[in-house]
Symmetry: C2
């Protein structure tokens, strides 16, 4: 089989910077992506933490063009492309494949709740056929706490049977290790990314592909280090340290906390901005978060320099 | 205050017809809308039952143009325009106002769950300011079972204080009469539409504006008749008859059942088609539904003739 190789490693659902008028700041995003790649962290742009569903399809196409035109490595790029409407999903997915992205992360249509596996199968099937490109590699996005539309094992089995070359893997943000373990056992060639580094060591031991995690926006290097050294004797200690850092961040609303951290450690306050319906941390929350991170000796090495570049 | 008058009456979240390739069939929709208006039923196109979130913004703009260009009454038109991304909501809403629609029905951004009233206030506020048109009349769309993002009384109060001319009313699809009653009491000038005819008589007695209901796609004339005659001695009996018909339909998945009914009573099988992730009724479900409707003497007067026109 030709086409893009299976993806693996640690990827960040890259937070999206906004200008004062809430338009997207493509240059800041390029710099942030360059920094993430320097930490050995791949680019799952347009994820939940990227506020991707708060962007129009046009904005995402323009941003993707900016990233690719800046020469960032498309082999490490897995943009989120799943929308509620098939024409939107097809349009963005086609563009991502044409621009050379090694994979796309695809939400199911998430407006209607309680939809059948048959309906979801038809939805993914329709997208695959309309994109009609042998270079398309789909990583399914299972995030029931937010999308409220799960991707079941039965659905995956059916998709893999029908589209074995195209349906390449999954990001599991259920937080349910039993589900991740079941996929690792039932679909051995399927690239399973845990949706949080909390499960990274277990995932690697079970033959998984890595993780795509919110906190990889800030703790990228340390997470990538565990990925690279999961068989070392220090692995358990490294996992514990990652968990501790994640726990500190998770005390606050996640996306505002990530942006506040990037703003603080880059020295660039513009990063703290969000699009409604999300709101920034209060001054008190921000002070608490930074104190919690500082007392752990947390750093984002090279970030300030990268942002100034 | 100039600008569009408050809307009232019975509106249908008009089901959207699709061609075999799943593209939108604008001509069939125009005919259906014309028939609904003939039943004294207004046009809440692009609602949940219209599969609106399965259409791209471009598709909705083109469809709205087709409806307005066909000469349908824009005073009875309340297209759904709320999307997850502010630029999408602004684009469709601006278009609807420019084309003369008397109101728009606006979902909150529905991807992120557990968002704050502050975040939702900013979202609606941003849309209102960007549209920047004194003819904009927003009817908020409260549908927690599907959107999973509620519109609270506190949020409504704040929006009404800030935008008293623009925020005109609400559709409440919570199914919770206590919530509808609380709005009727707390916001007397606010146009409250019940999200189901089940609450039509109570709504009218409480000073509400009417209802916007799935079943108004098929039982339009009877629902409109109760609206027109809610003070008559027969009102309770009319309400009971509406409830019985609705109960029969609700035994089946709602949107497929509505489309199957339109297909059957118009004699035009094309109507049964849905976009994934929704799927059509099984043959057994369809036979059951039609039998249940037929034994109640149900008809859709003039529909077959209107569709042939």
């Amino acid at each position: 089989m030709s086409g893009p190789k299976k993806m693996s490693g640690v990827l960040s659902p890259v937070v999206t910077p906004f200008n004062e008028d809430l338009s997207v700041d493509a240059e800041r995003l390029v710099r942030q992506c360059r920094w993430l790649l320097s930490q050995d962290c791949g680019l799952a742009v347009f994820g939940t933490n990227s506020e991707a569903n708060s962007l129009s399809v046009e904005e995402k196409i323009d941003l993707l063009d900016a990233l690719v035109d800046a020469g960032l490595d498309t082999n490490r790029m897995m943009p989120g492309t799943g929308a509620c409407a098939i024409p939107d999903t097809v349009r963005l997915t086609s563009h991502a494949v044409k621009r050379g992205c090694a994979g796309v992360l695809m939400l199911p249509p998430f407006y209607y709740k309680g939809v059948s596996d048959e309906g979801l199968f038809r939805s993914f099937s329709e997208v695959i056929q309309r994109v009609g490109d042998s270079n398309l590699r789909i990583y399914l996005y299972h995030i029931p706490p937010v999308a409220q539309v799960p991707i079941t094992l039965t659905l995956i089995e059916r998709l893999l049977k029908e589209y074995p070359d195209t349906v390449a893997g999954i990001k599991d943000s259920s937080g349910d290790w039993n589900n991740m373990e079941a996929m690792l056992k039932q679909f051995p060639d399927f690239a399973m990314f845990a949706g949080a580094e909390t499960f990274l060591l277990q995932t690697m031991r079970g033959g998984g592909a890595g993780c795509i995690s919110a906190t990889a926006n800030i703790n990228s290097a340390a997470i990538a280090e565990l990925y690279a050294n999961w068989q070392s004797p220090d692995a358990e200690a490294m996992q514990a340290k990652l968990d501790d850092l994640r726990g500190a961040v998770m005390q606050y609303p996640m996306i505002p906390a990530l942006k506040a951290s990037v703003a603080h450690y880059s020295g660039d306050g513009e990063w703290a901005r969000l699009r409604p319906p999300l709101v920034e941390l209060t001054a008190e929350q921000k002070a608490g978060l930074i104190a919690d991170l500082d007392k752990r000796g947390f750093k984002m090495p090279g970030l300030a320099e990268g942002q100034a570049a």
